[in-house]
Symmetry: C2
Subunit: 346 residues, 2 copies
DNA sequence: AGCGCTTACGGAAGCGCTTACGTCAGGTAG
DNA sequence: CTACCTGACGTAAGCGCTTCCGTAAGCGCT
């Protein structure tokens, strides 16, 4: 790959300004011990020449890094891109760079990304996105992060309880309970849950909430069909096909994220099933397009952009002794995709 | 910010393995001149110790960087996040890291991001997203990129003709012509264009296509209202309000990107205007949710993810003598949001 | 046995910065 | 007028790595 050769060096600037390397360095990085006059001259010349300091050299020598690493599951999933938006915007305001990595929900690759970030000597690593239910699967990543912390790095996560670090925790369980209650209160008793991949803790949490709500009605989660599919639009679409073909009498479909709900909606439309007339549909996340779907989607709002800002804020704030955890809160957003259960045999 | 102090160094590994620094380095970076036996031992110990090379030191000494910088306008805009998805996925396959920056459509900030990327000594810089119609505005960025190229860096862009670099160029003008023709062929004569900010070349290009299509029908673009607003959902929503209130007899609204089209749709729905019954709506980009809107959106498809892969591929491929340009192609996707113009006074 | 050649390794010189420390003015106090 | 401090600057020692050398074996050959 490209090797950046023969770029302008600080010595060049220093020579041109007729000062020593040290003075030039101090002038450009705003340290004192340089007269205003000289500092101005150096800065002027640097600008003129288009000098950009070599960050690798600077980091090597100085030690402090001003870049934060952000690992997300899927960068083109709205859930994550909205989180990333929050992180990036806040970081920009503070003059920090963010290095975004993409794990593709593959714990192995995630480990690799963490390693890269560490190699890049970022000051902060933020991991956004569900952990894995199988603890073994992410043990390596966890260990790597711990090592990073010991070495003085800051870590913060969104949605992982397992890592010992500051965490922003989405209200998954509460939210799950809230949508489920909503559906139940509309009289739905034949509910099918479209869940994402079983190995994600987020799914487990949301399901737990759903189970709690069912319990409160004297129903058991074991009696409701739970389809584990891909956490994407297509996963939802396929699940809906399966439901229409195999689960008779369904009155409501609860998708555990909006992407899948969108897929469900799409299948129902193409199969001519009216929503919410025949089947109600609810999602989770309140992705920004949820309001613009046909019909608009009932869902649980999680403040993604704000979550992004919060993790970064936590990560940046000097570490208190024990990891802080902040839950996001949630809000049930009732829109047009849910309605009263159609009366049996009517 | 966090300073990563006292991390494991290569010497530590070398000492532990009983070899010299040089040998350890060769072993870990796969250079030859080391016996298999020793190399294995070193690698084993490195793994055991959890050694991760300091990329800054490595880059400083070696010169080659394996990270690519990607600058987008808005990371949480689906158009860009889909492009980013393409870049990131392909990069991942090749073992490259991607550093994503976000300019917020601010040329000044974009310049700052370019500088940061250069400071980070990335090997490749990719700039995605419209250029600015005012050449002065991005002269600085252009100069900076040129300097980067001279120093051996690779640059590739999406949607900027002005930069001297390999470019993937969306079929903006052709696409604009295609949607406009579609609308005209449905009998629409009272078309309002919802354009994004005037300072973006993308807008200018798409508008030029629209103008061409109008010309072919003996109509002039000067006779059709063009509203310049924010390139976002809200920009579209506001524009639609204005249209309903101030432009009588509109039969079709052509939004120059999907985000704005979504906003238009939302306003029309809340104002009780039927689409396409009373007003047809078309967008541009074919963002992934376009198919799931209410009604599904007629638009021009641009293969975003593929564009992302293409720029990266171009950037990575050894530079031919002159910059290559590859146009993306486009496809008119007719869905439910457009229909025949309602007959006047009917 | 002596020659050169290859192979495996160690020594040491940087890469471009920051920063501890030394120096040398000039100013103040005694 | 000397002693001392302060401020402005230069000198040089690294930061952790890669890589160019040099060197010492080990090999086959004459």
């Amino acid at each position: 790959m490209g090797r950046t050769r023969s770029a302008l060096r600080l010595v060049d600037v220093a020579d041109r300004a007729g000062v020593s390397l040290a003075t030039a360095s101090r002038a450009l990085s705003g340290r004192d011990g340089v007269s205003e006059e000289v500092a101005d001259r150096v800065r002027e010349i640097a600008r003129e020449l288009g000098y950009v300091a070599n960050l690798h050299a600077r980091t090597l020598a100085g030690g402090a890094t001003s870049t934060v690493g952000l690992i997300v599951h899927e960068i083109d999933d709205p859930y994550f891109s909205e989180i990333a938006g929050g992180v990036v915007r806040l970081a920009g305001e503070q003059g920090l760079m963010v290095q975004i990595c993409h794990s593709g929900r593959d714990p192995e690759f995630e480990l690799h990304e963490i390693r890269s970030l560490i190699a890049h000597r970022v000051g902060v690593i933020i991991v956004a996105g569900s952990g894995y239910t199988d603890p073994k699967v992410q043990a390596a990543a966890k260990a790597e992060l711990a090592r990073f912390q010991e070495a003085g790095g800051r870590v913060a996560v969104i949605g992982r309880h397992s890592v010992t670090a500051d965490a922003v925790l989405p209200d998954n369980e509460e939210g799950g309970a809230a949508v489920a209650e909503h559906l139940l209160s509309l009289g739905h008793r034949k509910i099918v849950v479209v869940a994402g991949p079983q190995r994600l803790t987020t799914i487990a949490d949301r399901l737990a909430g759903v189970a709690r709500a069912l319990d409160a009605q004297g129903m058991s989660i074991d009696a409701v069909p739970v389809l584990h599919t891909d956490f994407t639009r297509n996963g939802g679409a396929e699940a809906a096909e399966k439901i229409l073909d195999q689960v008779a009498g369904t009155t409501a479909i609860l998708a555990l994220n909006d992407a899948m709900a969108i897929g469900v909606l799409s299948t129902l439309r193409s199969r001519g099933v009216s929503v919410p007339g025949q089947i109600s549909v609810a999602g989770f996340d309140d992705v920004s397009v949820a309001a613009d779907l046909a019909p608009s989607l009932t869902t649980v709002r999680l403040p993604m952009a704000q979550m992004g800002e919060q993790v970064l804020t936590m990560a940046l704030r000097p570490s208190s002794t024990r990891p802080r955890r902040k839950s996001t809160g949630h809000e049930l957003i009732v829109r047009d995709s849910t309605g009263p259960a159609r009366t049996r045999r009517g």
